[in-house]
Symmetry: C2
Subunit: 343 residues, 2 copies
DNA sequence: AACTCCTACGTCAACGTTGACGTAACCACC
DNA sequence: GGTGGTTACGTCAACGTTGACGTAGGAGTT
C-alpha cells in the first residue's frame, strides 16, 4: 500500500519533460525569475503541481552563489527548560519571517556535546548559530567563530572578541533586588547561586555585593552559598542557612531552580510567610503561590528577538563592530519579596 | 579583521591536493571506508585538520544512494509550551543517538502555518517528521504523508490511515480521575475542557462521561464547559459554575491552561480548600501550591522516546503495519483531588 | 536595409560529494 | 610462470540545481 515511499522524488527534469521546456526554464519559473513567457509559466506550474514537485533546497544551495541553507542553528543548554524554550520560540518566530528554519539542540552544559553539535550544524552548512555558551572555556565556540560562522551568544557573553551577544541586566537587577530587601529593613540577606563557572552567576553575585555595599550592609560569608546546580542542592543549602545561629531574614536566589529549591525548604519549615524571597528569573505560576514569589523577570521574547535580529544582520553581511545588547529585566513584586524582617 | 568570513570553505579537493591523493581517497578516509593505506590515512587526516575541513553533508546526501539528510522535522503546536518543550527534548535526545539533528517549528494550531512548515521541511529533504497535528482536518498532513514522507503523529491520532501515532491514555485516565472524585463522595463534578475540535478534548470528555456512568452519577449539562482556549476563558467559565444554584463540589479540568484558569478562580473566591480539583497534564510547581494540585500526569519523555523510535524505524525501512502506541498516564495525588465534598 | 536592443528561451558546466568501475602492484598457489 | 585474488589507489559521471553565456526572433532606430 505504501508505494509512495519508494517512488523517486520528482525533479526539475521531470517537470521540464512534462512541460516540454528546459530545466533552466523550470528553474526560472519556480524561482519567479523573469525570462519566461506567461504561457510557459502556466505550463510549468501545472506540470509541477501535477507531479507534486518540490524544489530540493540542498541541491539549490549547493549550486547557488550565496550558498545559503536558509537554516540557522540554535544551541541552548536544555530545550525543556522553560527559559530556553521561550527563547527558542522567540528566535523561531523571527526566523520564520525570514523564511529560515531552526535546527535546535541541547548542549546539556557539556563541552563535548556542545562541540559535537557545533560540528553537526556546520556540517549541514547552517547560515549562522545562536548559542547559549557552556560555562568555562569557550575554545570550541571561538574555533567555530574563527571559521567564519556567524554567531550570536545569548544569556552569556563570549570570552573572545568579535562576536555579538545578548544578555540581561544581571548585575543591576540583582543589586536592585538586594536594595529592595534592604529597604524593608533586612540586614541578613543570603545569596544562593548556581555554578560559579557561569558568567550569569558571577554577575548576579557581583550585583548582590554592590547592593549590600550600597545599602551599607556588611557581607556575611556564611550567608553565601554557590554551585547549587539543581533544586535539591538549593534546598539543602537553604536548610543549612537556617541552622545558623543568626539565620538570614531574606533570600536572594540567583536562578530559577535555586528559587524552587529554596521555596521547598521554606515551606517545609513553615518559614515562607516570615522569610523574604526574591528570585532571579520568572517561572510559571509564581503568582499562584502563597505568597506570590517576587522575581526579577527577564524579557525573554525581547532577548530572543534581539538575538535573531543580530544573527540575520550578520548573515546578510553586516560588518559593523560587534554588539553586546543588554535587555532590561524588571522586578515583579508578588509578595514574597515584600515581607519585612521579624523584629 | 574578519577575513575568515569570506574565505571559501575548504573542500575535499583542497584536502586531496594537500595530501597528494585523489578526492575519492579523501572521501574514503573521511568516511572510514576501507581501501586506504595507513600512511595515506594519516596524511589525509593531517591535511583535513590543518585546513579545517568539514565535510559538506548537503552535497554528500545529494550524491549518496540513501539520500539521508540525517535531519528530522518536529512540528509542534508551541515550542514554548512546557509540554511541547519536554516532548521536543525527548525526541532530540533519541535523535542525537542516531546522529540526527532536529528542525523544530511551531504550528500555532494554524493550518496555513502547518502547511507552510511542512513544505519548508520537505524542501530541505528531512528524513521524516514528528507532528502534533493542528485540530480539525488533516488534509495537509495526509498529502505530505502520501508523498512518502515518514511521519509519526504525537498527542493526537491521524484521521487518515497508514500513519503511526503515540498518544496517552486520555479516556481511561480521565475516567479514573472522575472515579477518584466520586469515591470521595462527590456527586457534582464539573468538566472544563479545551477546544472541542481537539481529539484529546473529546477523549477526555468521553472518559468523564464514562466515569460518571460507572459511578452511577447523572450528567448535568450545566457542569460541562468546553472550548476554553487559554487560562482566561477557563477562569471565567469556572466563575460561572459557582454562580449556579447548585455549584459543583469538584472540578475535572481537562488541560494544562484550563487547570491554571480554574485554580485562579478558586483562589480568588477562596474556594481552593473546599472544592476538589483534578487536572489533566502536570505542570511545574503543582506540588508547591496549597493544596498541591492532583493531576493526571502524562509520561512525556516516554511519549517522545516512543515517537522517535517509531520515526527512526520507518526511516530505516520498517514496513510493518502502522502502530498506535498508547503511553500510560498516571494520577498524581497532591491534595486538591483528595478534598471531600462539604456536607 | 543594416544596426542595435530586448525578450524568451536553451546549452553547458559546475557546486561538493560518492557509486561504479578501472588498474597497477603484489602475494599465493599449483 | 601463468592464474586468480586482494589491496590500494585513481577516473569518471552523476546527484538536482543554477550561473554564465549563447542564440533566435522580433521590435525599434537610423
Amino acid at each position: 500500500m505504501d508505494r509512495a515511499a519508494d517512488r523517486r522524488e520528482p525533479t526539475m527534469r521531470d517537470v521540464a519533460a512534462l512541460a516540454k521546456v528546459s530545466t533552466k526554464t523550470v528553474s526560472r519559473v519556480i524561482n519567479g525569475l523573469p525570462g519566461a513567457g506567461a504561457e510557459v509559466v502556466d505550463r510549468v506550474r501545472e506540470a509541477a503541481r501535477s507531479l507534486g514537485y518540490r524544489p530540493n533546497l540542498t541541491a539549490s544551495s549547493l549550486r547557488r552563489s550565496d550558498r545559503r541553507s536558509a537554516t540557522i542553528g540554535v544551541l541552548f543548554e536544555d530545550l525543556s527548560n522553560p527559559f530556553d524554550a521561550a527563547l527558542l520560540r522567540a528566535v523561531e518566530d523571527r526566523a520564520r519571517h525570514a523564511g529560515v528554519l531552526v535546527l535546535a539542540g541541547s548542549s546539556e552544559d557539556d563541552h563535548t556535546l556542545q562541540r559535537e553539535l557545533l560540528v553537526s550544524l556546520s556540517t549541514r552548512r547552517v547560515d549562522g548559530v545562536v548559542v547559549m555558551a557552556v560555562g568555562g572555556h569557550q575554545d570550541a565556540l571561538q574555533q567555530e567563530r574563527d571559521r567564519g560562522t556567524p554567531m550570536v551568544l545569548v544569556d552569556r557573553p563570549p570570552t573572545f572578541g568579535g562576536t555579538d551577544c545578548v544578555t540581561t541586566t544581571n548585575r543591576d537587577s540583582s543589586r536592585d533586588a538586594v536594595l529592595h530587601l534592604a529597604a524593608l529593613g533586612h540586614r541578613d540577606i543570603a545569596f544562593l547561586g548556581d555554578r560559579r563557572t557561569l558568567w550569569t552567576s558571577q554577575e548576579r553575585y557581583t550585583g548582590y555585593l554592590e547592593g549590600l555595599a550600597q545599602a551599607g550592609l556588611t557581607l556575611r560569608d556564611a550567608l553565601v552559598r554557590t554551585d547549587l546546580h539543581g533544586a535539591d542542592l538549593a534546598e539543602a543549602a537553604t536548610g543549612a542557612l537556617f541552622d545558623l545561629d543568626r539565620p538570614p531574614t531574606a533570600l536572594f536566589t540567583a536562578q530559577n531552580l535555586v528559587t524552587v529549591g529554596a521555596m521547598r525548604l521554606l515551606r517545609a519549615r513553615d518559614l515562607h510567610r516570615r522569610v523574604a524571597l526574591i528570585g532571579f528569573d520568572d517561572f510559571p505560576l509564581a503568582d499562584m503561590l502563597d505568597p506570590g514569589i517576587t522575581v526579577v523577570r527577564q524579557d525573554v521574547p525581547g532577548i530572543g528577538r534581539k538575538a535573531a535580529e543580530l544573527i540575520f544582520a550578520r548573515i546578510d553581511g553586516d560588518t559593523s563592530p560587534p554588539v553586546h545588547a543588554v535587555v532590561p529585566a524588571s522586578l515583579v513584586r508578588r509578595g514574597s519579596g515584600e515581607i519585612a524582617p521579624v523584629s
